[in-house]
């Protein structure tokens, strides 16, 4: 019985690949996500509605659409893809790096929304106070705005990581389903359900996915609680 719970090396590869892509995706969008969220919350600039719309588009489109657009743009024959290959020797199509890009595009709006909400809740007069005390714009941002928005930023990062773990449509469209390269947990589960006798492995991966999701939630809860205690949101 126990042996049937033991994942095969192939299944473990899918798990590690998912983790790797998820972490890279989160790391990739952390800084741009914070900047964009802050920009949308605090700065008025021409074309803001357009930026807002573009950022949020992946959230409302069928994932296969951004996936296909990525393929057209970043594929080997796409304008950006060819340039990347010619200049840097980088190939995104059908590689795990491409999967990172696909899930980053899909996770970005979630990150931005969480940050924007958190920044909007930071009392602007705290920033004013810091300015009159001699802090320049960057220092105000780093010492007041970002620390006070940290719970929201953490939430955004966890949401982005979770979105990346669950990413299917854009990934399969852009980078395919290459075992060991782009076959993440959801793709592996889907693959097993399509072959005879694949129920066992599929179930094992489902359990793994659930454990992974719970671990991520628990870690974020722990982090958020610590930050909130520091900010004094909780009653003593």
């Amino acid at each position: 019985m126990w042996s049937t719970l033991q994942p095969t090396p192939e299944e473990l590869t899918a798990l590690w690949l998912s983790l790797k892509i998820g972490l890279w995706c989160t790391a990739l969008i952390a800084v741009p996500g914070i900047m964009t969220g802050w920009l949308l919350a605090r700065v008025r600039f021409p074309g803001k509605a357009l930026v807002d719309g573009l950022v949020h588009l992946p959230l409302v489109l069928p994932p296969v659409v951004p996936g296909y657009l990525l393929l057209l743009l970043l594929g080997r024959n796409g304008p950006i893809g060819r340039w990347l290959f010619d200049t840097w020797g980088v190939t995104l199509a059908f590689t795990w790096q491409g999967a990172v890009v696909a899930s980053a595009i899909m996770a970005f709006p979630l990150m931005v929304r969480a940050v924007r909400l958190a920044v909007a809740l930071v009392e602007p007069r705290l920033e004013d106070a810091a300015r009159t005390l001699g802090a320049g714009p960057l220092r105000v941002w780093l010492t007041i705005t970002v620390p006070l928005a940290l719970p929201g930023i953490l939430t955004g990062l966890v949401l982005a990581f979770a979105r990346s773990l669950g990413e299917f449509g854009a990934t399969v469209t852009f980078v395919g389903n290459v075992a060991g390269e782009t076959r993440t947990l959801p793709l592996a589960i889907y693959t097993y359900t399509q072959i005879p006798g694949g129920d066992g492995p599929a179930l094992r991966l489902v359990v793994l996915s659930i454990l992974l999701a719970l671990a991520a939630l628990w870690a974020s809860e722990l982090g958020a609680r610590r930050v909130e205690r520091r900010l004094g949101h909780q009653q003593s």
């Binding site: 009392e123 007069r125 705290l126 004013d128 106070a129 810091a130 300015r131 009159t132 005390l133 001699g134 802090a135 320049g136 220092r139 010492t143 007041i144 620390p147 006070l148 520091r230 900010l231 004094g232 003593s236």
Partner: protein
Amino acid sequence: MLALDLELRQGVFTLQGRLTLEQPASGLFGPSGCGKSTLLRAIAGLIRPQRGFIHLDGAPLFDARQGIDVPPHRRQVGLVFQDSQLFPHLSVERNLLYGFKLLPPTKRRFTLAQIVDLLDIGPLLGRRPRHLSGGERQRVALGRTLLASPRLLLLDEPLAALDESRKQQILPFLRRVRDELRLPMLYVSHAINEILSLTPYLAVMEHGRLLGQGLFSEVIRQNHILDLARSLGLENVLQVTVERHEPEIGSTTVRYDHHMLHLPLSALPPGSETWIALRAADVALALQPIGGITIQNQVAGRLMSLRRIADRMIAEVDIGVPILAEVTVKAIHDLGLSEGDEVYCLFKARAWQYLGTG
């Protein structure tokens, strides 16, 4: 030290006027919502006027014509907010040191120990702002601003969020800042007694306009401020000296010039100076002193002018200082009063209001 002349539009609101502060401590007085905070934010550089200039110690902080707009972090203008705005994620000590650490050591005018001692906030240093009471928060906010060594200290209703007893606890600290640190300050409030507790020099503002400035007793008599003064019950304002208390009969005697006035019992020590105010409508006029009446104060004077405003008359009586009395047209007719007549001003003791100590 501070001179400004500006116009600032925000939606339908327009702030307009000029102001020159020469006194080390000045007040800015006006009803809530008249634009006092907006003016302070403009001086601090947090909002930009459309027109005009703001000069501090002869150098421009803002000048629309020359295109000068020094950013707030380079102005060295300290601003203490009504609701303290302490940084919730930092301890009291790190709040205090926030601006201090940004200054080069040669520009630091005070030390942490000095300010902590002045404001008596030593026991609070390790705490978080959320564990402080309202009064403690305001002291820390004041200390934080002082430690940033401002050239000008702006206080935006710093006591408004506190109850009366807390206010009385903070005021002495503000007086210490005024007397010991010799920092120019502009104290903004809609409560005239708070301002008078710190300084008799003030500017008056209403509906976004700076109406006038100077010594309180003179400003408040300026014609274009009379309406505001009337709405606040400040038509008659005297700076008096407390002579003696008679608690057994509930009376305090104060002296103005050579007049002795009987007022309700006050807690001010004898010899101290205070401001008292009386509504014009609470002044009665008589042709001779009247006996057998509870009105305690009957002061002789000369009727200088009579002005009719709608259905009422404003009589100005010189008793050594002009006193305004608001009476009906009928009363003036019945008494047959005309300018130049000798009259007695009758003040009920309880109609006087103590405004604060200077």
